[in-house]
Amino acid sequence: MLLIKNGRVLDPSSNTDAALDVLVDGPRISKVGASLSASNAEVFDAAGMIVAPGFIDLHCHLREPGQELSETIETGTRAAARGGFTAVCTMPNTQPINDNASVTRGIVERAAAAGAVRVWPIGAASVGSKGEALAEIAAMKDAGIVAVSDDGKPVATARLMRQVMDYCRALDLPVIDHCEDPSLFAGGVMREGPRSIRLGLKGIPAQSESICVGRDVEVAMLTGARLHIAHMSTRASLEYVRAAKKQGLPVTCEVTPHHFTLIDEDVRYDSHYKMNPPLASREDRAALIEGLADGSVDAIATDHAPHHPSSKDVEFDRAPFGITGFETALALGLSELLHPGKISLKRLVELFTTGPARVLGIERKIAADEPADLTIFSPDVAWTFRAADSPSKSRNTPFDGRSFRGAPMATVVAGRIVYRR
């Protein structure tokens, strides 16, 4: 038994924000109440801390199977636990691609054996994510996938998207799309604008993303399927999502910590500033933060994309896209959104918990008989992130050495403390 005492329980699902204790028995919560005691329980003193439902990351790359030099399920989930995540959704662009039930089962089994937190695989929408034939989506669902995506690239055509959405509506699975127009993207390496012109780096216009979001929203309208826009980065994309929500369509979206923190003007000749979608303009970032605050954005997702140092330590235009993100996500949310007064604490917690849960069609709450997945964090503790100390196999982050206010203090998965600061 585990007794979490003296904390401030913040559960958006029930609008709870009160000084309460949480008693955990085995993998489930047994009791939530004031001044609980249990003689034989291990006590965690959460004084000054927030006790929240377990954080869910809708978007990460654990690189297993096939790219274990960069990350494994074990190392990636240990980093996730340090970031306060109790469940992470891993994208299918592994080697081989997770486009059939046997790969899905491999991931699920490996996660059960070596994962520090829960791993919820996302299956490919098309075979090999090639954009041609539908993947074995129903079989993968039976094996444990929670959504489909051809992440790394968009679902290739509107026609295929229509088929995927029709099919997934019947299976009640969300379709997650990485939105970009390949013909506009055209080998670009950062957002097109004054900064790309100055650096002489090939620019990607913001419309590369929003054109595809517009297409997807139209197809969602046609099919009525659940559409989730991955790592959304522009104002125009957000406007499409807002309009879809206004019409009552089941369209959701996520924003990454790096997109609400950094902008294109921050880009230097350092591949740790190279990600896809690229860092957006100052105006786009302001729009994203507004969307995070007003509920138009459903979740903060990391897009944790580890790359081995040897692949990132190259010329900017030759480096792969992506940065790691688990361990800095909450701290960036606190430092960039909460402390400057841009969003409330409750809203921030929603973006890591009930928000992503709703995208997946599940519940996330702190109540008796619920799974004991909890994230305990301090909004105030001062610390400095050192990439070298990360359990991740990769170090590709622009936030190495950055000082923060606020951090995860303990991560509880199925009643076990898997990380403690």
Partner: protein, 321 residues
């Protein structure tokens, strides 16, 4: 006090004083080329690595000659023969070069920012000989020297740059340099190659779509090479380009009889420039070549020789062999 240069990675971060200093330093080397014996011992015992990851004839020969005339030895790495073709990373190639202990490295690379990447990792002076679509600082310096000689000043000139600005590192370096001297810069070329964001590079940069208007009142015209090899965009028919943007004698006439015409070379005669303009009295093309040598000698003298900023070289007196 002038800030001592450690590298020359671009023009953008130089001060106006530093630019003037380099131009002044090049003056004696301009004279030097008229001497019958063109060799100094200033850099004797020093080795300059020439790492050209992108094909280049003119710039490579210019740097090699500049180094030779200062008495330095050179190590050559060329794209066609380099192990880069065998998949070796830039970093590994450079560490191999560094192990041979050069005293400075001149690098041309197809990736913007590659010289900065190198400078952050190697402990020797780095000279950017052109990186991707970012900068080509020695080209802008030699252009400035040519302009200053011909126009007797560098301040407040009206300069028109003609061609594919988007993909031009020469244009970027020239815009940065000339703006430090209060230039009014006009950019003109096919619209998809002259995006609006170019105007944010420096103050007093404007875009003009009609060539007649762009050339009106220009003190200097810089004609860019149409770099077909660098383009991802659908190609523009050469006839279209010639019709709208070729610098012809008639169009040059709109600018004026004293307007100086520059071209970084190599030229596509009959495409971006009419041969009679290229070879005419208003062309500074050949001076650009000799000034390139002077600029590169001054830079190597300063960066590799470790000469104090205040000390001007005295060719003809110091160790002429």
């Amino acid at each position: 006090m002038l800030q001592r240069l450690q590298h020359l990675l671009g023009i953008e971060d130089l001060t106006r004083e530093q630019v003037s200093f380099i131009l002044d330093q090049a003056k004696p080397f301009q004279e030097f080329h008229r001497h019958p014996l063109k060799k100094l011992a200033t850099l004797r015992g020093k080795t300059v690595a020439l790492a050209f990851f992108e094909n280049s004839t003119r710039t490579r020969i210019s740097f090699a000659t500049a180094a030779a005339r200062l008495g330095a030895d050179t190590m050559n790495l060329q794209a066609e023969s380099s192990s880069l073709k065998k998949g070796e990373s830039l970093l590994d190639t450079l560490w191999t070069l560094e192990a041979m202990r050069p005293d400075g490295i001149v690098i041309r690379h197809g990736s913007s920012g590659a010289p900065e990447f190198v400078a952050q990792r190697l402990g020797i002076p780095v000279v950017n000989a052109g990186d991707g679509t970012h900068e080509h600082p020695t080209q802008a310096l030699l252009d400035a020297l040519t302009i200053r000689d011909r126009k007797r000043k560098l301040d407040g000139l009206h300069v028109t740059i003609l061609g594919d600005i988007l993909h031009s590192r020469v244009a970027r370096s020239n815009i940065h340099l000339l703006s430090k001297f209060g230039a009014h810069i006009t950019l003109c070329g096919p619209a998809m190659w002259v995006p609006r964001d170019l105007e944010s590079l420096a103050p007093n940069v404007r875009r003009v779509s009609r060539v007649d208007e762009a050339l009106d009142g220009a003190d200097v015209i810089i004609v860019l090479r149409v770099q077909t090899e660098r383009l991802h965009e659908p190609m523009l028919a050469a006839e279209e380009y010639i019709l709208q943007f070729q610098l012809t004698p008639e169009r040059l006439g709109l600018a004026g009889p004293d307007t100086l015409v520059l071209h970084p070379g190599p030229m596509n005669r009959g495409l971006e420039i009419d041969p009679s303009v290229a070879d005419g009295p208003q062309s500074g093309v050949l001076e650009q070549v000799t000034n390139g040598l002077a600029i590169r000698m001054a830079l190597l003298y300063h960066l590799v020789g470790g000469a104090a900023l205040e000390a001007a070289p005295a060719p003809g007196t110091t160790g002429k062999e």
